[in-house]
Symmetry: C2
Subunit: 173 residues, 2 copies
């Protein structure tokens, strides 16, 4: 037969405790289903996949929602600052903001101290939309975290923050 038979294609995390090679991508034993970064991408993908459908019914795309999430925290914010926080290129954010202005979700005005900078602010309508979306997102979050204890979530956050910090240092090669 062409495909060599493998007894167990997916092992449980338990099996790995003493077998780092299974999740290290440079090992021949590596399994995609046990790769942290693959699982992150997978979780993130699934998380947004069905949420986007719901958001679209409210005229809000995934990138627009991301921008709103950023703006909820610090407002006003420049295009560049939003781009950095939203992990997207400035030009892309610039256009997204254009659409949001058209939809009446945000307003823009030049920074009085530096005319190059465009400050973006949520309109009352934008805040209203965000409030309407919040419970929907909350339900999706709960769905994702079903059966995951607060201790586990805290642990997850700690590890993810550590990884992010590591990767923010100077890159390889």
């Amino acid at each position: 037969m062409a495909t060599s038979a493998v007894k167990k294609t997916a092992r449980t995390a338990e099996d790995l405790m003493d077998n780092r090679s299974v999740y290290d991508p440079s090992s021949p034993n590596f399994r995609l289903e046990n790769s942290p970064f693959y699982l992150m991408a997978h979780a993130d993908f699934k998380y947004h996949e069905d949420m986007d459908i719901v958001l679209h019914k409210h005229g809000v795309s995934k990138p627009i929602y991301r921008v709103m999430t950023v703006l909820r925290e610090r407002q006003p914010a420049s295009i560049g600052a939003i781009a950095e926080a939203a992990l997207t290129k400035r030009s892309t954010i610039s256009r997204i903001i254009d659409r949001m202005v058209e939809q009446g979700l945000v307003t823009t005005e030049p920074n009085p101290e530096d005319n190059r900078i465009t400050e973006v602010t949520l309109t009352p309508a934008g805040q209203q939309t965000l409030r309407k979306l919040t419970p929907i997102v909350g339900r999706q979050f709960s769905r994702a975290m079903d059966g995951v204890s607060d201790r586990d979530i805290a642990h997850l956050l700690r590890t993810l923050q550590k990884i992010s910090a590591n990767l923010s240092k100077l890159p390889i090669e």
Copy 2:
């Protein structure tokens, strides 16, 4: 004042143990830097950001690398199977495979049992390229996981697998 003053904008994971609201997106206390899904996206983004630069020097784009990673596990694989595993649409994978054929990384042939299916296989050159890339990716992985114990990684995997499983059930609304 418009924005109510918050003493600490970024709390450590430790603080959250008894304060779920800070990472629940439906809470007003929510902070992006404490959101699991934001952190996943952030880690994934940074992980690939500098790796892509290195890969490009070897003529391999991020999606191409992803496909190769999938093929390393099960070979041959159909376009659809690759698409699903790589979290990408079939049409996109179809075109990526075209490029890979041009580069001599893979070959395609119709499945003898079902003529609709296109089976994709890594060429020796493709496997060679993959081997060359492996240590680079391994270094990046090590960099990301620096200071993270095997126990922590195992815990991370367990949690991520749980979340992925939750999100693979029927969606909300």
